[in-house]
């Protein structure tokens, strides 16, 4: 997936308002980054990357870049 598309999808999935996401953005700074967000991201990643993350995996996530690394850099253009 194109990284730009991934960022746009995250904004849409997490219903982020007035947030400019980039790969260095720390997701933990979002008010919306809670257990529901974790479920939404796990579902989104599962649907789009054939990759099954766990809540434990998401605990390790800080920046969008770190999320991309967990999903697998090779899956991004």
């Amino acid at each position: 997936m194109n990284t730009e598309d991934f960022l746009n999808d995250l904004v849409e999935e997490l219903e982020l308002d007035n947030v400019e996401l980039n790969i260095d953005f720390d997701l933990r700074d979002l008010d919306e980054w809670d257990s529901m967000a974790v479920m939404i991201v796990i579902g989104y990643v599962s649907d789009n990357f054939d990759c099954n993350l766990t809540g434990e995996d998401l605990k390790e996530v800080s920046t969008v870049k770190s999320l991309i690394e967990i999903i697998g850099n090779e899956k991004f253009l």
């Binding site: 257990s35 967000a37 479920m39 939404i40 579902g43 099954n52 809540g55």
Partner: protein, 349 residues
């Protein structure tokens, strides 16, 4: 794999309280946006709660009466199973109380089962096993009033759970061979993931039992409230349940297309959809009613069969039940629900 032959579900009834608790009653737990996200992910829009004076066994009594009023004689019942985590007392057990209230014979074998969200499959396997070893029928009653053990200020539990009860009559199949299959899994190492920490004998009631504490997510509850580590339970479900159903079907040489309906424990719609997606189950094979009742623990699958009966009636259906939750425990069952199964309309009290 456990196989039971020539036993069937004869009747199913379900009862819920009339009192609908809609999401505006839990709005103190969410911002407007969070509530929308909650509804979008879980699909839960309302749940039913009993009043202070009604217990789970009161609901169970009514569910059982519906079935008993439609059989020839109560003497057909040889075994009464009560399955719940919100029983009337610590001592005595509740099945005996129900034996008396339901005016069942003194010869009835009564047994309580403590089980949670996998309870329907656990209870059904127990009922099928007893029915196989007896000439009489087994009445399984499942009831939960989880509303009584929730902290209203804990958003990891209160928005999810509802109250209800179901009764299931199990007996011998008269028409040739019918096979039912069960499989179970247990991970006792995660038993604290869903628990009430105090009030048993490991941590008896003391002055700290009713003290509120606030967790890292701002949820307030005491040690007598239901406590759930949501992310841990979510991980468990995603890790174990698709795999266990897939293995179950492989052993039975059954494919998804061979199954008419999957009745998953109604834990939350997101989890159910994820399980279905991983197993390539189409949405029209998945029964769903969580938006109206929330998670009613072991009651959820029979309640689902009652509310979705329009899809089941007048035909034979090959069904897979899958329950998963506290313990942590999971169980799967594949059986044929025959067209002559009596599934009664939902009772609201």
């Amino acid at each position: 794999m456990r196989k039971i032959s020539n036993i069937k579900i004869e009747s199913i009834s379900a009862v819920v309280p009339k009192n609908r608790v809609k999401n505006d009653s839990i709005s103190h737990l969410f911002t407007t946006k969070d509530l929308r996200r909650f509804e979008k992910t879980t699909l839960i829009l309302e749940r039913r709660h009993v009043n202070d004076n009604t217990t789970a066994s009161d609901l169970g009594f009514i569910a059982a009466e519906k079935i008993l009023s439609n059989i020839e004689s109560k003497d057909e019942i040889g075994t009464l199973l009560w399955l719940s985590q919100t029983s009337d007392y610590i001592i005595p057990f509740t099945s005996n109380i129900l034996q008396d209230r339901l005016d069942l014979s003194h010869d009835t074998f009564c047994l309580d089962i403590s089980a949670g969200c996998a309870g329907f499959v656990q209870g059904l396997y127990t009922a099928f096993s007893f029915a196989q070893n007896s000439n009489k029928k087994v009445l399984l009653i499942i009831g939960e009033t989880l509303s009584k053990i929730l902290s209203e200020n804990d958003r990891s539990t209160t928005p999810l759970f509802g109250d209800g009860s179901a009764a299931i009559l199990v007996g011998k199949s008269e028409h040739g061979s019918t096979n039912s299959f069960f499989s179970f899994g247990t991970d006792g190492s995660n038993h604290k993931a869903i628990s009430i920490p105090h009030g048993g004998f490991r941590n008896p009631f003391n002055e700290e039992s009713s003290l509120n504490s606030i967790d890292e997510n701002g949820n307030s509850k005491n040690n007598l409230n239901l406590s759930m580590n949501g992310p841990s339970v979510f991980d468990f479900t995603m890790r174990e349940i698709p795999k266990s159903i897939s293995n179950f079907m492989d052993i039975l040489d059954t494919e998804v297309k061979d199954i008419d309906f999957f009745a998953f424990h109604q834990s939350n719609a997101f989890i159910i959809k994820q399980i279905a997606r991983k197993l390539n189950i189409s949405s029209d094979q998945v029964l769903l009613n969580i938006s109206k009742f929330g998670n009613t623990s072991g009651v959820s699958i029979p309640l689902l069969l009652v509310t979705e009966n329009n899809k089941l009636k007048n035909k034979n259906s090959k069904i897979i039940f899958s329950g998963y939750g506290s313990g942590l425990t999971w169980g799967n069952c594949m059986l044929n629900l025959s067209a002559d199964t009596n599934i009664y309309e939902l009772i609201e009290i």
